[in-house]
């Protein structure tokens, strides 16, 4: 049954009228035209669909849209402040931490959530925190370097 669902998407209030059991991924990608979150596996095994819900990384392919009523959702499109990139985005560029780029939005948002919880993570903690996010190109070592470098940068107070 279609119901109106309200939430904040990338700092802008939105209302969608749809079946609340539909997964957030499809509502974002189709109804709202926000294509940063990617379909990679559809069953929560790869992390390509990761978005932030109230600053926490969530698999949007496993999240019914009714569950985000009233929440603040950030996709990769909403992470930069205008032209100023988030330190994680900047670090991914500077560390060449991507190849095909399909997993990148999920990687960055997962790292964001990890650093929100643990601002000063050890390499082991980064590995454990990022382990559910898959990358097929093998950019892993550079992604780890990017998360470490962003963590250092963010300690300087940037967010």
């Amino acid at each position: 049954m279609n119901i109106p669902i309200q939430f904040k998407l990338n700092n802008r209030p939105v209302t969608v009228t749809t079946d609340g059991d539909r997964m957030l991924l499809w509502v974002l990608r189709t109804d709202l035209g926000v294509t940063g979150p990617k379909y990679g596996c559809g069953e929560g095994f790869c992390g390509a669909c990761t978005v932030l819900v109230n600053d926490r990384a969530v698999l949007s392919c496993q999240t019914p849209v009714k569950e985000v009523e009233g929440a603040e959702i950030v996709t990769i499109e909403g992470l930069a402040k205008g032209e100023t990139l988030h330190p994680l985005q900047q670090a991914f560029i500077e560390q060449d931490a991507l190849q095909c780029g399909f997993c990148t939005p999920g990687m960055i948002l997962k790292a964001y959530s990890l650093l929100a919880e643990k601002p000063n993570p050890s390499r082991e903690e980064i590995i454990a925190g990022m382990d559910e996010n898959l990358c097929r190109c093998g950019a892993h070592v550079r992604i780890l370097a990017a998360v470490e470098s962003a963590a250092r940068e963010m300690k300087g107070g940037k967010k």
Partner: protein
């Protein structure tokens, strides 16, 4: 200079172009864009065909290689595509270098069949090796034209002119200068590139050979990078297609009535192609679930265990890849003979982006956005399927989310086009992960048998090598063996039917992963039998100086100490040749003998790939190969029974994760005199072997099948 035909029009720009056929359209486009110099490649005799070795059925819809706009912007056009491997950065480097233009002024358009020069496909590490020189030649030609124009403009003799940073200047009066854009303004100039213009010497490079960050990174970290599934057209619908439960299954009955009742769902049927279309992809999925279909279940009796004997039974007669001497003589000379059989399982490409296409067919024209490694191939396939003239089909390639050889065929593009025509609206076909696994063109399961021998001094005297179904790449012998034969039975590109239960195809460095695993593990087993350190054994049996240099570079970085295997230390070694590149890997592993788990602690990768255009880009590819290669070495295999694929998602088909990572060290072995060779594939060929030899060194167990799963390793340990 070659023949040039200049035309003045009201607007200007410069371009290197390649076909008289689409000339009118092109000139029109150039007029809109501001004009240009146009360089054609003449049909039938072009250097392109000489390079690619292709001489039949040459398509005639050639396009421009580069365009210089009146606004100083330079556009590089290529039929190659970007799937992560980095030509989006390295090709503009090559163009800017040869044209003496600022790197930042170069923009790149890739894989659009209406704009870019014809290309066979992005595979085989050929972009830098084959397309690169062609692009540089087009740039050199354009530079010559610019200098001719500048001679008129500056009233200076040609021999006094030089080019730098997008300008032409007089060396005797450096203030006499003019920019490329100013020269291009108000002109359209066509040229036929017939002769090969001289290219810059390596010593004069200032852009090639320097590391540049990826050009597409900002788009990719902000979500602005669009993939095929991100393209939206007004009125488009999403398709979900009815699929069989197993390869070889036949549709008996289908009941569409329940699906038809779902609001907004549109059923489209053309023979066996049955699809549900909806404005929302997840609703289309729901409607498809309401389709009731009965399929026959094939009973082949073949599964992932029995496949090897099935393949051996059905193996075709061999083609001899290389041979020398006489095998019987070799056997007589041998004091020790080694006979082994090596097995490889089917492996999936599993790119993070599944196969996707959006097609818009209107009347007798089709435009298709495809996640493809082969836009020009897709163009022909779509044209054939829709019975349209090829020139009425346009394939546009957005960013591609990984390919690894798996996006060479693209049935989804044909499906989307067929459905778009039937439904009379744009249609997206995006395979689910399950479809991606089901319809993947797997790396073939393969068998290698080797009979080899050494003399008293540890010199190899015999090598009788048979590879079944993998293919020839990497089978050719480079060790110095007087009596050898390399026989290739079947190939990934041929003979799927009757052999494999499903499609097989090229998988990153096709055949070479299998061949290198078998050859290099066998070499180690021989070294162990001879009681010689495996590096020393290789060096003793090699005359190829490039390989000796590459192995030595890896050993130096790794800190290899000579010791005969198994030494209990878990050191592995492997080398090989792929795409013109020499590669040597060394690794250190930990083996848990109770669980059979292999932990890879460290991998050193040394690579001689000739002149390196973008060193950091090359290192990224080496790291990517090492990381991806952990998968086929340790865990990745496709399990199946009677045509049914058991591994349909990442829960059971495990690909490498952060927690698997070894410490990776890369060494670029300098060889600037050699033109650039392949970089996207070579390192991965050694990953199976380097881990297998390390496991053997650690435990004495012989891992005779990839992947080296815990269960298999426990079996091997029990035999050791």
């Amino acid at each position: 200079m070659t023949a040039s035909d200049r035309k003045d029009t009201s607007k200007g720009g410069i371009s290197a172009y390649s076909s008289p056929l689409s000339r009118r359209q092109f000139l029109k486009r150039m007029g809109i864009l501001g004009g240009g110099i146009i360089i054609y490649f003449t049909t039938g005799r072009s250097v392109l065909w000489a390079r690619t070795g292709r001489n039949a059925n040459i398509p005639t819809d050639f396009n421009a290689f580069l365009r210089i706009g009146a606004d100083e912007k330079i556009t590089c056009l290529t039929g190659k595509i970007e799937m992560g491997q980095g030509p989006v950065t390295s090709l503009p480097q090559m163009l800017a270098e040869e044209l003496d233009a600022p790197y930042a002024a170069v923009n790149i358009i890739m894989g659009d069949t209406a704009q870019c020069p014809w290309d066979m496909g992005t595979w085989g590490s050929l972009t830098t090796r084959q397309f690169g020189p062609l692009l540089r030649e087009a740039a050199a030609e354009a530079k010559g034209v610019l200098k001719e124009l500048a001679a008129e403009h500056l009233k200076s003799p040609l021999e006094r002119l030089q080019t730098k940073d997008g300008t032409v200047f007089d060396i005797t009066a450096p203030r006499k200068r003019v920019t490329y854009g100013e020269l291009a303004k108000g002109k359209i100039i066509e040229k036929y590139l017939k002769d090969l213009p001289a290219l810059k010497a390596t010593a004069d490079f200032s852009i090639m050979g320097k590391s540049y960050l990826r050009r597409d990174a900002r788009e990719k970290v902000t979500g602005k990078a669009h993939y095929a599934g991100d393209i939206r057209l007004p009125g488009m619908k999403y398709a979900r297609i009815l699929r069989p439960p197993a390869h070889g299954a036949k549709l008996h009955n289908v009941d569409l009535s329940a699906a038809q009742k779902l609001s907004g769902a549109q059923i489209v049927r053309d023979g066996d192609l049955i699809a549900v279309l909806h404005e929302l992809p997840d609703e289309a999925e729901k409607a498809l679930a309401a389709v009731k279909a009965e399929f026959s279940q094939p009973r082949t009796g073949i599964d992932d265990k029995s496949i090897f004997s099935h393949l051996l039974r059905s193996a075709p007669a061999p083609e001899i890849e290389s041979a020398a001497g006489d095998l019987q003589t070799g056997e007589k000379l041998a004091v020790k003979v080694f006979e082994e059989t090596y097995l490889n399982s089917y492996v999936a490409h599993a790119p993070m982006e599944p196969h996707t296409a959006l097609a818009s067919v209107e009347g007798n024209k089709a435009t298709v956005w495809v996640s493809t490694q082969s836009p020009f191939g897709d163009k022909e396939r779509v044209a054939r399927a829709l019975n349209l003239p090829s020139e009425n089909v346009r394939i546009i390639t957005p960013f591609v989310g990984g390919g690894f050889g798996g996006k060479s065929g693209n049935p989804q593009a044909v499906e989307a086009a067929q459905l778009s025509r039937l439904a009379k609206c744009p249609v997206q076909v995006a395979w689910s992960r399950g479809e991606e696994f089901f319809y993947d063109t797997f790396r073939p399961a393969a068998i290698v048998t080797i009979k080899s021998g050494i003399d008293k001094g540890g010199k190899m005297v015999l090598w009788d090598y048979h590879v079944y179904f993998a293919g020839n790449r990497g089978a050719e012998q480079y060790y110095d063996i007087p009596h050898h034969r390399e026989a290739v039975h079947g190939h990934w590109g041929r003979g799927g039917r009757g052999h494999h239960p499903f499609a097989v195809g090229p998988w990153r460095a096709p055949a070479n992963n299998t061949n290198t695993y078998a050859r290099e593990l066998h070499i180690n087993l021989m070294a162990a039998g001879a009681g010689i350190d495996p590096l020393a054994f290789r060096l003793k049996n090699l005359k190829d100086q490039r390989m000796i240099r590459t192995l030595t570079a890896a050993a130096r970085q790794f800190g290899w100490r000579a010791q005969k295997a198994p030494a209990g230390r878990g050191y592995g070694i492997a080398c090989g040749i792929d795409a013109g590149t020499y590669v040597a890997l060394m690794a250190e592993v930990d083996v848990d003998q109770t669980t059979g788990n292999i932990g890879v602690k460290r991998v050193v990768c040394a690579q001689d790939m000739g002149f390196v255009v973008n060193p950091e880009g090359a290192r990224i590819q080496m790291e990517g190969c090492v990381t991806m290669g952990l998968g086929y070495a340790l865990r990745e295999e496709v399990r199946f029974r009677n045509g049914e694929i058991m591994d349909l998602n990442f829960d059971t088909y495990e690909i490498p994760r952060f927690s698997w990572l070894p410490k990776i060290e890369t060494v670029i072995v300098k060889n600037d005199e050699l033109s650039p060779q392949g970089g996207g594939e070579p390192a991965i060929i050694c990953m199976g072997a380097v881990i297998a030899t390390a496991v053997h060194d650690a435990t004495g167990a012989k891992p005779m099948q990839l992947p080296m799963t815990q269960a298999r390793l426990k079996e091997a340990l029990a035999k050791a």
